[in-house]
Structures are given as structure tokens and as C-alpha cells.
């Protein structure tokens, strides 16, 4: 499939300057989380419901052929017809035949993502049946307005969220050829009147399905407007167009979806209408002035378009857990800034990248998958627990395998990152020159080099005295009779940008009577390459690190960077899935890895040092995405701060929202990164704190750079520094 040539940077800029959209999205992003939680107030455990939905969907993916066969048999037994379309073209031909056989002239549609995915309307509107052009109307209010406007939906559930009432009124006026005032109730009543006419004169109704039940052949439609009820009631032909992922085995499984979908999607305990249609039903039509009853014709078309392949893919089958509630967009720091159009396809946001890739458009995936910064916010609320960033990583790796990497990345990873000698030498040269831009265009893919990052924040300086050069001095303070030995994995940022924090880490550990060693053969954790889908380079550095730490033979491996910790602990073992020897070594290595703050909090607790102390200077804390949602660590750093003498801990608004750094993203998409940073700075300012604490060096770099330029009187400190100051 071809991709249009697009200038993503320009499109992003344009969206960031669209005040109407910015206003709508930021208000929505503010209100959504609270409204969602409120709708769940009368539910015992959200998590239990999510697990149940995930398990049911995974079971279905594992048995997809059987479930689809049962569904088909049940519909046929009730007099409906079932077709299976392998792709969009197949579906279009099949549908055209149905139109011809039934002499269909006018079609009404209720929302169906599957038909948008294959651009069905455009096709239908170009067809003739019995010598007449087909007349097709969307009946969902938002979709109808967008069709009139010739625009694409920007959100799966709220397609027109990017428009205001004045813009909507313009589209009404255009469709009706009369001046329509921008009065919302008036517009609603106008839509009711003209769309009612469409329902009553339509020959065919096309719907999607939120679920299809194999046990009895029913399809379920979850809507608020009720248009789907009219689409399935008034026309004499009903066509259901649905993807295989909508199938569920049992009637009772529908409850597993509808207890979550409305709450997550629209913050309602239930939408106005949840309708189940099972087999052909009666329709009344006027013939020669007399009403007669007949059986409506029902057709169900199951669309494959890459879905069956995904169902059989051990990793990608998790996409089946998606119920298209769009809540992952609602909480996504990137989506809520740029809106849905930038993603350029029907499915937007992180899940959109995945679906677009799975549905066969890997090139488009390659283009917009890097708009996911892996913050995992979506994973924490997704009703089906779809691990969006992990699936994106997987697809990226496949993309790299299929298409290879761009030349600069390839050089950066294969030739430099995997060669510790060259890599560290380059970093040292960088520290002397302090001019990363000069080091060539491939360099920005390496950690620490942040070309184009100076607007609104300062560049971090590369230290000429990294941790590895200080270690012989620091090791002298190791306890003579230690309770254990800790090997320190510094990661590039602590080692070369924040070596003072590295020193703090060592001091805090030594104070706990722990001996600290620093295996010098350690290198970058490999995340920059892994994040770009380069698993070969990732494996190479993983092996170097594992070997280096095996030799050190320590009791624990301490990491002060949550991204490194996550990579060492989880990703390494996954990388060597097909290599028994290295997998075992990676697992043994990973089992020793401990994130610094959670480890220290545990030790302090044991030693009775974790009791809150009376306040003093105000301090707030920023949760790193990887720390909070990747590692699940958020209470421990707070406890450490509350126990630290002379500090009064205060929370900031949206404490766990991404600061905009996210690896290479921060400089590749600085247009997006800066608004995120500025929002963070505002939230810090509003607490009145004089210090912001972090437990992640990447956040420290981003927020620190912003503070330096915009709020120099607020300090940023790693938790390790705060603890070390109080020893």
C-alpha cells in the first residue's frame, strides 16, 4: 500500500496552532480521567473487570476459526447470510452484489470503523444500481457532519471533537443550502428532521458491531444517539460489516464488554442504547397504499484484512483485546496535544499505529508509530489491557527487519552503540567539544546528543569526569564488613551527564553498609536501539552488560534510571526468547536488578528510617512514566521524601504525566515535547515548591533544562541527591 508523502512536522505545527482544537482537547484531557473514575464508582474492582475482558478476548483469538464458524452457523440457521471478506476489495464487491440483488438505491449507515478502514463510502457513492447512483448517508451526527465537510474523523468515539459549534453550523448550512445558526439545540433538531427522512426512505441499513455472539448469532450495537436502532429497523435490508476481532463466544461474554466500554469510552455507566440483533426481523413496508409485513434480509460480512493473521501471532493477538473505546487516545499526552488527524489514518493514537500496521500498512505504521513515546499511560486504563507500547516495539522491530533502518540510525547503533570503546570515546570527545551537532547527523540517535533541543530548555553538558573515572576514589569508602555487595549500573545519563548523582547513589548505598562495585565494561542499556526496533544491536549490548555484571558477582544490581532498569529486568530476557543459554543468563541477571529508590526505601524501612519527619522547605515530585507504569514504583520515592528531614512534600497536578523527554522523541519532535514540558513547569510552579524531585535522569535533563531557562529559582534534584545531602 502506498503512503502519501507527508510532512509530519508541518502538520504537527499546524495542529498545535489550531486554537479551537487545542482548547477542546485540553479541556477534555483535564476532565476525562475524573469522569471515567466516577462512572466506575459502583464497581468493586476495575482491574478484575479488565482482566476478565482481556482473558475472554484472548481466548477468542486463540479459537478464532471455531468461534467464527459457530457464529456463521447460528446466523444461517436463523435465515441470515454470512460472507467472509479477505480484504476491502473483496468486501466491496460482495456488498455491491447485495445491493444489486436487492435493488438498493438509498443506504443509511451507523458508525462502523471497519467500513471507514476500507473507505467504503467513497466506493459506494461511485456505484450505480439499476442505472441510478447509490445514495449513502452516515447517520451518526458527528460522522454526518464530517461527511458533509469532507473531513476525516479525528477520534473513534468523538469524531468531531476538533470542531466548534460555528464550524458545525457552517457544514449544516452547506448541506441544507440555508443559513443555520450556531445554536446547538437547533442544529440537533435540524439533524433529527433531515436524517429521519433518510431513515424512512432507505432501502438498506449498514451497521458495524461492537460484538458478535457465536452462541446465538446476535450482534451488539452500543450507541447513544439511537441511530443504529433506526438503521436496523426501518430499511428492508440490513448489512453488518464487522472485523473478526468483534466476535465473542457466549451471550454472557457481552457483559464483559458492556460493563467497561461505555465507562471508558464516554464515562457513562451505560450508553443510551445497547441493542442486540439476532437474525432477520420483521420489517413493514407500504405496498400499493397498504402496509405489509415481511422478513428483513440480513447479511453479515466478516472482514479479515490482516486480522486472522494477527490472531495467530503469539504477540500481536493482543490487539484482539481492543474494544475500540478510544480511551487510550483520551489519556495519551501526544494525542491530546496533536489530535487525531496527524496520525493520518482511520485509527489514531498508539493503538491506531498498531491497527494500521496489522491491517497491512506497515509503511504508514513506520511513519507515525514514533508518535508513541511509550509512557504507558494508556496501558493503565485500557479496558482490554492492550500493551500498546509493547506491541508498537514489536512492530517496529519487524519493520526494521523488513525494511531495514535508515542509514544514520544504522551507523549509530550497529557501529557505535554496540562498540563500547568507540561509544565512550565519542562521549568524551562530546564533553570537550560540547557541540553535538557538529558530530554528524547520525549522532542524534545516540543517548545524550540532543540536536535542536535548545529552544525553551538548556542542553545538558556532558561531564568530563564521568562516574567511571571517579569510582576508584569512591570505592575507598566501601564498608569493610558489608552486609551485601551492590553492582552499580549507571546508564549513560548518570555516568556521563549526572555523575554527581551517581556519586550520591554510591554514598547512600555505602551508608547502608553495602559495598559498591562498578563493572567498567558496562555500556548503554541498549534502549535507544531497541526503541527504534533494532534488536540486533540491542542483543549485542545486552550480552556485553550481562557478561560484565556476571563477572562482578554482586548480590544486587542497582539502577538509578527506570528505563534502564526496565530494559535490564524485563527486555533482556525477552530478547533471548529463542536462545536458551542467553535467556537463562539474562533471567539470572534480571532477577538481581533493583531500581534505586524502591530498593533504598525497603532498606530504610527495615532500619526504621522511613518515618515521616516534620516539614520545612516545599518539595514536589515528578513521576517518570517508566518508573510509575513500567516498574510500578511511585509510593517509595514519596515515602523517602516525606522521611527526609526539613522538607514538606506537596503533590503537583498531573504528577505522572509525561514531561516530554521520552528518549530521542524529545528532540525529534521538539514541537510536541516543549508544550508537554511547559505544562509540567506550570504544574510545578503552582505547588510553590522550591525543589522538584525526580528519580529518572532523562526527566531530570528535560525538566532541569526547562527550569534553567524559565524558572531558575526552582531546583531539580534526583532523590539520591536529596538522600545523600542528609547523610
Amino acid at each position: 500500500m502506498a503512503v502519501e508523502h507527508r510532512n509530519l512536522h508541518n502538520e504537527i505545527k499546524e495542529k498545535l496552532q489550531d486554537d479551537i482544537m487545542q482548547d477542546a482537547l485540553s479541556r477534555f484531557a483535564d476532565q476525562y480521567p475524573g469522569a471515567r473514575l466516577k462512572s466506575y464508582e459502583n464497581v468493586e474492582s476495575i482491574d478484575a473487570l479488565r482482566d476478565r475482558l482481556r482473558d475472554m478476548k484472548l481466548y477468542t483469538a486463540d479459537h478464532i476459526e471455531k468461534v467464527a464458524d459457530d457464529f456463521e452457523a447460528q446466523i444461517k440457521a436463523r435465515g441470515g447470510q454470512v460472507y467472509r471478506a479477505k480484504d476491502g476489495d473483496d468486501l466491496k464487491q460482495c456488498l455491491l452484489k447485495i445491493c444489486q440483488e436487492n435493488h438498493v438505491q438509498r443506504i443509511v449507515k451507523s458508525k462502523s470503523m471497519a467500513t471507514e478502514e476500507i473507505h467504503l463510502n467513497k466506493f459506494l457513492e461511485a456505484q450505480e444500481v439499476d442505472g441510478q447512483k447509490l445514495h449513502v448517508r452516515e447517520t451518526d451526527l458527528g460522522e454526518w457532519m464530517l461527511a458533509v465537510a469532507g473531513q476525516k474523523p479525528s477520534h473513534m468515539v468523538m469524531p468531531a471533537i476538533h470542531l466548534n459549534r460555528q464550524q458545525c453550523a457552517k457544514f449544516f448550512s452547506k448541506e441544507l443550502h440555508e443559513e443555520i445558526p450556531s445554536d446547538i439545540p437547533f442544529m440537533i433538531q435540524t439533524a433529527r428532521r433531515i436524517l429521519r427522512e433518510e431513515f424512512m426512505t432507505a432501502d438498506m441499513g449498514i451497521t458495524g458491531a461492537n460484538f458478535g455472539i457465536a452462541e446465538n448469532g446476535a450482534i451488539g450495537l452500543v450507541t447513544n444517539e439511537g441511530n443504529a436502532r433506526l438503521v436496523t429497523t426501518l430499511p428492508r435490508v440490513h448489512v453488518v460489516i464487522m472485523g473478526y476481532e468483534k466476535l465473542i463466544p457466549k451471550i454472557e461474554d457481552a457483559a464483559k464488554i458492556v460493563r467497561l466500554l461505555p465507562r471508558n469510552g464516554t464515562c457513562q455507566r451505560m450508553t443510551s442504547y445497547m441493542t442486540m440483533v439476532d437474525g432477520p426481523t420483521v420489517v413493514m413496508q407500504k405496498e400499493n397504499g397498504k402496509w405489509v409485513e415481511s422478513k428483513r434480509k440480513q447479511y453479515v460480512i466478516l472482514l479479515d484484512n490482516g486480522r486472522l493473521k494477527a490472531a495467530h501471532d503469539p504477540k500481536m493477538k493482543q490487539a484482539f483485546q481492543c474494544v475500540r473505546c478510544a480511551s487510550c487516545l483520551n489519556v495519551c499526552p501526544i494525542w491530546t496535544l496533536v489530535g487525531g488527524h496527524v496520525y493520518g489514518h482511520i485509527y489514531s493514537g498508539g493503538i491506531g499505529a498498531i491497527l494500521t500496521g496489522l491491517l497491512g500498512n506497515m509503511e504508514a505504521f513506520g511513519q507515525f508509530s514514533d508518535l508513541c513515546i511509550g509512557c504507558r499511560k494508556c496501558v493503565s486504563i485500557c479496558p482490554g489491557k492492550v500493551p500498546i507500547p509493547d506491541l508498537i516495539d514489536e512492530l517496529r522491530a519487524r519493520y526494521v527487519k523488513q525494511y531495514g533502518m535508515a542509514f544514520p540510525e544504522k551507523i549509530a547503533f550497529r557501529k557505535i552503540l554496540t562498540n563500547r570503546g568507540i561509544f565512550h570515546k565519542l562521549l568524551r570527545i562530546g564533553s570537550m567539544a560540547q557541540a553535538p551537532v557538529k558530530s554528524g547527523k547520525f549522532i542524534r540517535h545516540l543517548p545524550l546528543f540532543f540536536a535542536g533541543m535548545t529552544k525553551g530548555r538548556s542542553l545538558p553538558a556532558i561531564s568530563d569526569n564521568p562516574v567511571r573515572d571517579r569510582i576508584s576514589r569512591l570505592a575507598k569508602n566501601n564498608p569493610s564488613n558489608p552486609v551485601m555487595t551492590a553492582a552499580f549500573f549507571a546508564g549513560c545519563n548518570i555516568d556521563f551527564v549526572f555523575p554527581d548523582t551517581g556519586e550520591s547513589v554510591i554514598k547512600v548505598l555505602q551508608d547502608l553498609n553495602i559495598a559498591v562495585v562498578f563493572p567498567e565494561a558496562q555500556s548503554c542499556c541498549g534502549k535507544p536501539a531497541l526503541g527504534m526496533g533494532d534488536r540486533e544491536s540491542g542483543k549485542a549490548v545486552a550480552k556485553q552488560n550481562i557478561e560484565a555484571f556476571e563477572k562482578a558477582g554482586a548480590d544486587v544490581i542497582i539502577s538509578t534510571c527506570p528505563t534502564c532498569a526496565e530494559t535490564l529486568e524485563k527486555t533482556y530476557a525477552e530478547l533471548f526468547q529463542d536462545d536458551a543459554e542467553w535467556r537463562t543468563r539474562a533471567e539470572l541477571f534480571g532477577a538481581k536488578v533493583r531500581e534505586f529508590t524502591s530498593f533504598v526505601a525497603e532498606q530504610y524501612e527495615k532500619a526504621g528510617r522511613l518515618k515521616p519527619t516534620p516539614g520545612g522547605e516545599k518539595i514536589t515530585y515528578h513521576d517518570s512514566c517508566h518508573m510509575r507504569r513500567g516498574l510500578g514504583v511511585w509510593e517509595q520515592p514519596r515515602k523517602l521524601l516525606q522521611a527526609a528531614k526539613g522538607l514538606e512534600f506537596v503533590e503537583m497536578k498531573n504528577c505522572d504525566k509525561c514531561c516530554g523527554m521520552a528518549g530521542a522523541f524529545g528532540m525529534k519532535y521538539s514541537d510536541i515535547s516543549l508544550p508537554l514540558l511547559n505544562e509540567k513547569l506550570t504544574n510545578i510552579k503552582n505547588t510553590g515548591a522550591t525543589t522538584v524531585a525526580v528519580a529518572c535522569p532523562a526527566c531530570m535533563m528535560q525538566i532541569g533544562g526547562g527550569l534553567d531557562q524559565q524558572m531558575p529559582n526552582v531546583k531539580i534534584k534526583h532523590v539520591a541527591d536529596i538522600l545523600a545531602e542528609r547523610l
Binding site: 477542546a24 459502583n42 464497581v43 436463523r78 451518526d140 451526527l141 458527528g142 468523538m158 469524531p159 468531531a160 471533537i161 470542531l163 459549534r165 458545525c168 446547538i184 439545540p185 440537533i188 433538531q189 439533524a191 433529527r192 429521519r196 424512512m200 452462541e215 446465538n216 446476535a218 450495537l221 447513544n224 444517539e225 439511537g226 441511530n227 436502532r229 433506526l230 436496523t232 429497523t233 426501518l234 457466549k250 451471550i251 454472557e252 457483559a255 458492556v258 460493563r259 464516554t266 457513562q268 455507566r269 451505560m270 450508553t271 443510551s272 442504547y273 445497547m274 441493542t275 442486540m276 440483533v277 439476532d278 437474525g279 426481523t281 420483521v282 420489517v283 413493514m284 407500504k286 402496509w291
Partner: protein, 206 residues
């Protein structure tokens, strides 16, 4: 009238699943979803309330279903007709008149506490157009038939749902597609009025 199940209480309900216990939660949640609820002791009270509504809403034309299942409703409809109200209950008449009717009277099988939903059996064409097309929908339901949550509702449904058309109705038709401003009545009714009957809504012996 064609239904998914001709006798929900007999074939699908049992006391552990369907009972009066979840009334309060149902009432709260249905109101939160913008439904209007009247809990009424008997059909006499219902008739008085209907008459009040017909006046208040300035109803000219009513379409109504459920009379063949509930004798008390059949009586209510025929009484209203006798009083000179324009009310249609025959399915072909409903098909003809519904586009210009301003009130649709229909029935629901039970109430769902967790969500404030009515479980409706709309297999018949006339039940569907009656509840969807007029701007106001008045629904009769037995106040003693409530389920705790959506799971129990589906346990009930799965006993009898073999084919047809059914689902949940939770408040009136709504949209937030323009500026996320909640607007009612975009395609279906803009008022959903529930008459929850403490007695009098017993089924006939058909």
C-alpha cells in the same frame, strides 16, 4: 406481539437474579442518565399520571404497544380511546401513524441497578418504532423486577435469547458530538419517562 420471549418472568427470571432489591440503585442511575421515573402503586395512579402527561406534553397522537401482553394496559389504552384520545395500538396503524405521533408507550422486562437501564424486548417492528420515533417514550415496567448488575442481567438474557431484537435503554437518545455539549433527542426520544408499577402490571394468560 412477536417477542424474544413471550413470558420473561416464567422462563427467564428467578428470585436470586430478578427481585425488588436493586430498585434504589436503578432509580439513582436512571435519573443520572436523564430518565424521568414515577414509581406508581397501581394502574389507577398510572392512568391519572398518563392523562396528566398527555396534557402537559400537549400530545395529539399516541402509539402504544403492550396491550396484548398486559390486560391492564389494554384497558388503559381503550379507556383513553373512549375518552376521545387519538391512540393507535394495531401494528399496521402504528406503522402508518408513528412518523407523526408525539408519544410512544411501550414496555420493558426488567430494570438493571448498576446502570439504570431498562431491558427491552423489541423483537416486533411496532415495539421498536413506538419506542424510537416519537419525541417522548413512556415505558411501563414492573418495579419488582430488578437485577443487581449487568452480569446478572445477561444471565437472565442468556436463558431465553435465541433470536430477535432486544437490548438496554438507558435514558433518552443523546449526543455530545458538537462541542461535547450533551444534547437530547438527536434521533430517538428526548424524554424517557418510566412508570415503575408496584402492582397492576400482571401479564395476561396468552
Amino acid at each position: 406481539m412477536e417477542k424474544v420471549c413471550q413470558n420473561w418472568p416464567g422462563e427467564a427470571f428467578d428470585d436470586t437474579l430478578v427481585n425488588p432489591n436493586s430498585w434504589k440503585e436503578f432509580e439513582e442511575n436512571a435519573k443520572a442518565a436523564a430518565a424521568e421515573i414515577y414509581r406508581l402503586p397501581d394502574m389507577k395512579a398510572a392512568k391519572a399520571k398518563v392523562e396528566e402527561l398527555l396534557q402537559e406534553l400537549e400530545v395529539n397522537k399516541t402509539v402504544a404497544v403492550g396491550g396484548d401482553e398486559y390486560p391492564a394496559l389494554a384497558k388503559l389504552f381503550s379507556d383513553l380511546k373512549a375518552e376521545g384520545k387519538e391512540i393507535y395500538t394495531d401494528k399496521f396503524e402504528i406503522a402508518e401513524e408513528v412518523p407523526t405521533a408525539d408519544l410512544g408507550i411501550s414496555t420493558a422486562e426488567f430494570c438493571i441497578g448498576e446502570t439504570g437501564s431498562l431491558c427491552v424486548d423489541n423483537y416486533s417492528y411496532e415495539a421498536r418504532v413506538t419506542s424510537m420515533m416519537p419525541i417522548t417514550n413512556l415505558v411501563f415496567v414492573n418495579a419488582n423486577y430488578t437485577t443487581k448488575d449487568v452480569d446478572t442481567a445477561f444471565q437472565v438474557i442468556s436463558k431465553v435469547f435465541d433470536k430477535g431484537y432486544m437490548g438496554f435503554v438507558t435514558g433518552p437518545s443523546r449526543t455530545a458530538d458538537i462541542e461535547r455539549v450533551l444534547s437530547l433527542g438527536v434521533h430517538g426520544p428526548n424524554r424517557l419517562i418510566i412508570f415503575a408499577m408496584e402492582s397492576g402490571l400482571e401479564r395476561g394468560s396468552n
